[in-house]
């Protein structure tokens, strides 16, 4: 995938993403100064965005060491390309798109991960979440906190996790995800649905670590 072509070329602003990623106080000034080569301004941008970029990498990769390496790569890429940011979308949206594409490129370069990603984008029927017939478990509403959800998301198969994080957490549209993951929009919709079904299953019948979080929430 051409990282430059995908996330450095700005497209029409997506209103939802501005809403999701409102401008941060002092960010615009820091961007302009960083474009002019101000090292201090770049460090401010790092301070403003490091947690979100790192959290995104960590969720996509599920590995601290790789997530730190990709955070480093993302900010170095930003350092080299910040001059091409024209402000047509929220800076954070632009930076996160850049990060997502770098992580996906990284996964594709690693043959093993590429295979596992494709396998879970087209999982075997045995791996797919079971359809929900006849169960009468209590509904989830009000019973799940972010820690339990975070753990459940981390335990999803990589392909499910990728689409869920990109769509439901990061706010990308199915057509954007399809481009990034090189699959059809139908496939993206289907993967997201299966991810949510799997999460429902995990949250209703939690593994011990998730169960502990749910009990903590209920206190």
């Amino acid at each position: 995938m051409d990282v430059q072509g995908l996330q450095m070329t700005q497209t029409k602003p997506v209103p939802g993403l501005f809403k999701r990623n409102p401008p941060i106080a002092g960010e615009a000034e820091a961007i302009e100064s960083a474009k002019a080569g101000d090292a201090e301004a770049f460090s401010r941008l790092y301070a403003l965005h490091k947690r979100r970029v790192y959290t995104l990498c960590l969720r996509m990769l599920g590995n601290v060491s790789e997530a730190e390496d990709m955070t480093q790569e993302a900010f170095l890429h930003l350092f080299r390309k910040i001059g091409s940011f024209r402000g047509e979308s929220a800076f954070s949206t632009w930076l996160h798109r850049l990060t997502v594409n770098l992580v996906l490129m990284h996964l594709r370069k690693k043959g093993l991960n590429l295979v596992s990603l494709e396998e879970t984008i087209n999982p075997s029927e045995e791996d797919a979440p079971k359809r929900d017939f006849g169960s009468r478990d209590p509904q989830l509403a009000g019973s799940v906190d972010r820690v339990a959800l975070e753990r459940a998301v981390a335990s999803l198969p990589p392909g499910y996790r990728m689409v869920f994080v990109l769509h439901d957490v990061e706010g990308f549209e199915h057509n954007e995800i399809a481009t990034m993951l090189e699959c059809s929009t139908g496939n993206s919709k289907s993967q997201l649905h299966k991810a949510r079904l799997k999460l429902r299953e995990l949250l209703r019948h939690p593994e011990p670590s998730i169960l502990a979080d749910l009990k903590e929430t209920a206190k």
Binding site: K50, L58, R59, R131, V144, K189
Partner: protein, 102 residues
Amino acid sequence: MTSPKKPNSHPDLTCAEFQEQLPDLFAAGGNGVPEDPALLAHLKTCENCSALVRDLQYIADQASLLLQPTHEPSDNVWKKIQAEMDSERAQATQPPRNPETK
């Protein structure tokens, strides 16, 4: 997977048929609530499918909680970024080599 067909209170649509439409229903932005009268009728009369739709929407809503980052990279990450940026800046400011001085 072969989806079992379960009889339900709406004779025209099975749970499997209803649930097959869910990815598109959610993608259409209606929170899983269909405009199609047959789908809507099934949703209104099938407790199981309405609980499913409610849970899936709840999960999607809760996902927004994860947008706020909670993890922080180690200080080492910034040190490495700084070192690399310094190196690239130094390279960029170096005068071009004169081949005759070799």
